[in-house]
Amino acid sequence: MNQRSAIIILIVVGLFAVTLPLYAGPYPQSIGQMVFLYMSLAVSWDMLLRSGQISFGIAGFFGLGAYTSVLTVLDLKLPPLLSILAGGILAGVVALVVGFVVLRLRGMYFAIVTLALAEIFRVIINNWASLTGGPEGKVLSSVIFGGDARLLYWLTLGVAVLTLLMSELFRRTRIHFALTSIRDNEVVASSSGVNITAYLTIAFAVTSALQGITGAAYAQVYGFVAPDGSFSTDFTLLPLAMALLGGVYGSAGPVIGALLLGVASEFLKLYIPYGHRIVYGLVIVVVILFLPRGIAGIVRRKRAPREGGHA
């Protein structure tokens, strides 16, 4: 697959994604919405993973964005589209502040603290009832765009495209080299003049802002927030499984994984109402054990047989 055919495939797939609402019914469109939102989470999670840091806190920033969006619409009468931006900004700022402290940690310490952060956000939202509505959450009086299914679809597509653009920006600028060198060997990176703290903070804030925007879009599309729903483990578990299945350290892998698992999840929910999440757990385990570079890794290895190794 050379450069030109890749571009052609990209254009065809892009056109198909954009024009889907013109000929598909409401059910495929609603599947598309979920796939795009999860795709955005999966890609943003991978963006931080490229620096060697695992975040288990996706659901935390997702929920913060969702709550910010709904509350700014209800209390500040912000237009819904602006409120989605507000959700991203708040999540990004919170990430900047906590990142200042948390990003000193590495490996298992960082991973577990992000897991705890998501829990802290949930507990605060759950208990700050005067602002957030407590355990019942808040309901919007109307869904964004008056519930026009096509516009909702294009909104979620827009969120996914925004995340993909940021991901490609990360891939193609010096940020890519900085994050990769931090992942490979921090001592070497810092002695080569890479400002580790600055790059990690940027990556953490940007990816958290993207997760906040995704959560805000989710809240606007479905019209409600609740502590258990908006901070659900699903928003951490599914993106992880998607990114790992597709292949990490690039934009293509998480997109492939989100398409496969996102569509599959609709059928899983129908056939296994209780415990369909076991599939995502199994995907994570099987991928880590047998195919650490995911599907994209298999494709890449076919093209360049000597490349490979661990994720």
């Binding site: 993973l49 060697g52 695992i54 288990f56 402290v101 948390v102 000193r104 940690l105 490996g107 298992m108 310490y109 991973a111 577990i112 603290v113 897991l115 705890a116 952060l117 829990e119 802290i120 507990v123 605060i124 759950n126 208990n127 483990t233 578990l237 992880l240 790992l244 296994i272 209780y274 415990g275 369909h276 999440r277 076991i278 995502y280 757990g281 199994l282 995907v283 994570i284 385990v285 880590i288 054990l289 650490p292 661990h310 994720a311």
Partner: protein
């Protein structure tokens, strides 16, 4: 001789820090005894539970070198096994400990053989993701079999209470404190007095060196991992006596155990007891305020962050 020196390193009693932690917990305990006796009792009881659960996690982390993010889920599986023994055959939770331990050890051996062993040489990221995946598989498997409805058993001995002065409290929960001490002593005896325990300490310190002197490293990992899961098999049924269980019940215990292990320092089992006393008391103290009980969890999580940061700064 080398092994002996290693075990000294492993259980090094870092004096100044423990005097601070121990002394301040004692002072807090005396204050609580005077002003809020109930907090002291319930703090003591939950500290025992936390310590007992954290000890096997510390064992795995210290020797196998893996953070088991499925730790709480193994406890949950143990509790569910006891529940099923009770529901189908009428076996009480305490009587079911023996079969549950056997099943849990088998589960531990299987998990190690099939998955853990294969990521020992892989980067830490893969290990974290793997155990996260295992935790999801376990909790969702139970969800699939038993649905998410909370399950509990009612035992007459679970509600026995005693009264001192004007405070009355449940007695059964002190079992957790006794268990925590027994598990600690048992593990220390195993690591210091037995041949395979000494080998395990050596492997924890330096797997390559241990292999060079002829220790079966893979076998040691398997032994340690299945002992840890077996201990959770003891705890699961006892956990069931006083708690209702549901598929997601384990997650909080994974995080609390990890924070205790991080606070105590990897490889230091005894300190887990002191740290769990401090955290258990702090949590019980917050929960004793009417209407603010829900904030108890957040105190625990904030303490995780503070403690990990302090330790991270000290080591760097």
């Amino acid at each position: 001789m080398a092994v002996r020196r290693l075990e000294l390193v492993m259980t090094k009693w870092n004096r100044p820090r423990y005097w601070v932690i121990g002394g301040s917990s004692l002072a807090v305990a005396v204050l609580l005894l005077i002003f809020r006796p109930y907090v002291l009792i319930s703090g003591l009881q939950s500290a025992g539970l936390y310590a007992a659960i954290a000890l096997p996690m510390a064992l795995i982390l210290g020797i196998v070198g893996i953070v088991n993010l499925a730790h709480g889920e193994f406890l949950m599986v143990g509790a569910y096994l006891a529940y099923f023994f009770n529901a189908t055959m009428g076996v009480g939770p305490l009587a079911s400990i023996v079969p549950v331990v056997v099943l849990m050890v088998a589960l531990g051996i299987g998990t190690y053989r099939v998955s853990i062993r294969k990521v020992l040489a892989a980067p830490e990221l893969n290990q974290l993701l793997l155990t996260f995946g295992i935790s999801m598989v376990l909790s969702q498997l139970v969800n699939l079999i038993a649905t998410s409805q909370p399950r509990s058993v009612s035992m007459s001995y679970a509600t026995v209470s005693a009264t001192i002065g004007s405070t009355s409290f449940g007695v059964f929960d002190f079992v957790y404190d006794v268990l925590a001490v027994l598990i600690l002593v048992g593990l220390q005896l195993f690591l210091k007095r037995t041949r395979s325990g000494k080998a395990a300490v050596a492997v924890g310190q330096n797997p390559t060196g241990a292999r060079l002197v002829g220790i079966n490293v893979d076998g040691t990992y398997l032994l340690v991992f299945s002992i840890a899961i077996g201990i959770l098999g003891i705890l699961g049924p006892i956990f069931l006596v006083r708690h209702s269980v549901f598929p997601m019940v384990g997650g909080a215990y994974t995080m609390k155990s990890f924070s205790l292990v991080a606070m105590a320092g990897i490889g230091n089992l005894t300190a887990i007891l002191w740290c769990s006393l401090a955290l258990g008391m702090a949590e019980a103290f917050i929960k004793s305020f009417q209407g603010y009980g829900d904030w108890g969890d957040i105190v625990f999580f904030l303490m995780i962050i503070v403690v990990i940061l302090v330790r991270a700064r000290r080591t760097s």
